[in-house]
């Protein structure tokens, strides 16, 4: 029978059978784990989007409990738990990347849709997320629910009793206010997109880019051949064409450099 990973009542040692975590420590560990759940879920939301966040949370908890022996109880739980979650998310992304016919050719697009975010970017997000505190209450709530919580505009409207249009306006105002906090428009937009896209910002479900290319090139026509046709008298009545041959086949560079000469 599968055991509920959050059921600690049975006292079964979940630490991979090693028994290295004492009972009291294990209970304390479990409590800290439960207290970290909201943060873990938000983190998973940002990493993989709401569609797969619960899977990541669940697997992270299972792995955390199984690997609790490797956790140093004297240190903060969150960095350790976050690294477990990141590994889980990365493995999930790898599995999806191996799925046939789901290639994302735009570099980074797959990472956006999936789970790859490097640590520095994550830290940046957390720091930048503090800026949400500068927003007014309704705007902050809308932004947090939408981008960090992954709720749809309609769901937020239902939950807050506001009209859909009002929620959209709050989101828009909140984003604009963040832009102002950040300064230059381009940099601000980058920051906002870097901070907030994991919930509902960028495409939620795995976007599928079969291929995409954008190139700008210069085309020039083939170089002139200056073909020469020699005709010889066939009879007094007319001419006979003996054959044609290109006078010279030259590349455009020959022409550009003036090196074209008759053969």
């Amino acid at each position: 029978m599968r055991r509920d990973p959050l059921d600690f009542s049975s006292g079964t040692d979940l630490s991979d059978g090693s028994g290295s975590v004492a009972e009291a420590e294990r209970e304390e560990f479990a409590l800290r784990l439960v207290r970290s759940l909201p943060r873990l879920r938000r983190h998973a939301m940002r990493r993989v989007g709401p569609g797969r966040a619960d899977d990541v949370v669940q697997e992270t908890l299972v792995r955390a409990l199984q690997s609790s022996a490797t956790y140093d109880g004297g240190r903060s739980l969150w960095p350790w738990l976050r690294s477990v979650a990141d590994n889980v998310a990365a493995r999930q992304a790898e599995r999806e990347a191996r799925a046939p016919e789901a290639t994302d050719d735009i570099d980074g697009a797959a990472a956006d849709a999936g789970a790859h975010v490097d640590g520095s970017s994550d830290d940046f997000r957390e720091e930048a997320a503090l800026l949400l505190d500068h927003l007014r209450g309704p705007e902050r709530e809308a932004l947090e629910r939408h981008y960090l919580g992954g709720e749809s505009v309609a769901a937020i409207a239902d939950a807050t009793g506001a009209a859909v249009g009002t929620v959209k306006a709050r989101l828009s105002r909140g984003r604009r206010r963040l832009l102002l906090f950040f300064g230059a428009a381009a940099g601000a937009l980058a920051a906002v997109m870097a901070v907030l896209p994991r919930g509902a910002g960028e495409v939620q479900r795995a976007p599928r880019i079969y291929h995409a290319s954008f190139v700008i090139e210069h085309l020039t026509p083939a170089a002139p051949r200056f073909a020469r046709t020699v005709v010889v008298p066939k009879s007094t009545d007319g001419w006979r064409i003996e054959g044609a041959r290109p006078f010279r086949s030259s590349a455009p560079t020959d022409i550009e450099t003036g090196r074209l000469e008759p053969r």
Binding site: I106, F214, R228, P252, E261
Partner: protein, 350 residues
């Protein structure tokens, strides 16, 4: 067509490995000669009725009404004319081919071994793996639930170098949802030059092409005719043309959950004017001048699947101006048929 339709019940009931069934399928469409191998490769053959999607059902109804004299006298000839129009224009053939192309283009599961026969505009015979069949079922359901057209809009901006990298973190492309697309466009509105913004409205699973351009003639080459014994060569100019302007070829299909799958081929060509020229006498005769036009071509080739309102944006450096980047934003929107009592017209919704 009737032949194909009447055998459908038999085929659906027949066991998959029934040799008679394979023979019948081969008789329907020679393209299905490989169906005998499909059973060994875990592929299943199914007969799909798509008459409602291609309009073949309406054609049948029209024919039945005409044959059975069910129509009022005043519309009888008009109905007959419409019936003949549908036959002659091949409208349903185009639609069914569009379905086939859409399946072959956008099917997500591995389509190795996928074979599609079209015995009539209302029927598809599909030999495919189970996962492909599942995808096709979802696709056809999405097609049936889709009432309207697809608007595909492309916008090209010229921005200061580095802007694109700042906006999407140094990557060459990014996927945007509706909100962030709005933010991006607001940002670009003030800081960017909109170079081009073509849009195409198309029916689902049907190709749409748009070409707006100009053909410019130029002297490409000279051909010389040499007359032995004479001191002259006859120089005949060779005239060619270059095509400038914008061309778009798109196909879009709904793939369920409001998503649209789109394939876009876009090209924008601009000639550098005046044309460069090169004059030579080739050592003999009078000088001749050829023109060496140079085309700057921006090409976008993309196939993607997006949520409603989402967009894909890409950027490249401007090869002619290192201080600039070029950004292309592509978006597909559903234009739903208006359900008003006045009829006609469309209403853009997502």
């Amino acid at each position: 067509m009737m032949y194909a339709l009447t055998i459908v019940p038999f085929l659906l009931l027949a066991p998959q490995e029934d040799p008679a069934r394979v023979d019948v399928l081969r008789a329907i469409d020679p393209a299905l000669t490989a169906v005998g191998e499909t059973a060994a490769q875990d592929r299943r053959i199914r007969i799909l009725d798509v008459a409602d999607l291609t309009g073949a059902d309406r054609l049948d109804a029209l024919r039945e009404a005409i044959e059975n004299d069910l129509l009022d006298e005043e519309v009888r000839y008009a109905a007959l004319g419409r019936y003949l129009d549908l036959i002659e224009t091949g409208e349903m053939d185009t639609r069914v081919q569009g379905l086939v192309e859409a399946i072959e283009t956008f099917c997500v599961p591995n389509t190795a071994g996928l074979r599609i026969g079209v015995p009539s505009p209302g029927v598809l015979i599909v030999a495919a793996s189970e996962s492909v069949h599942t995808w096709i079922d979802q696709f056809l359901a999405a097609m049936r639930g889709f009432d309207g057209q697809v608007l595909i809009a492309i916008e090209i901006f010229k921005v200061d170098a580095g802007t694109a990298a700042d906006v999407w973190g140094g990557r060459t492309g990014v996927l945007l949802d509706e909100a962030h697309l709005g933010d991006l466009l607001v940002t670009l509105e003030g800081a960017a030059e909109r170079v081009n913004a073509p849009a195409v409205l198309t029916n689902p699973a049907q190709h749409a092409s748009l070409v707006v351009g100009e053909q410019i003639a130029y002297v490409k080459d000279y051909e010389f005719t040499v007359l032995p014994g004479r001191d002259v060569e006859i120089a005949d100019p060779v005239i060619d043309v270059i095509q400038t302007g914008t061309s778009i070829d798109v196909i879009a299909v709904p793939v369920g959950d409001g998503r649209l799958a789109v394939e876009i081929q876009y090209a924008e060509a601009r000639a550098e004017t005046p044309f460069r020229e090169f004059t030579t006498t080739l050592g003999v005769g009078n000088p001749v001048t050829v023109q060496l036009p140079e085309l700057r071509v921006a090409k976008v080739n993309a196939r993607f699947e997006l949520d409603p309102g989402a967009a894909i944006a890409m950027s490249v450096k401007d090869p002619d101006d290192e201080t600039k980047d070029i950004i292309v934003v592509m978006k597909a929107s559903r234009i739903e048929a208006q359900r008003g009592t006045d009829g006609g017209g469309t209403d853009q919704r997502r």
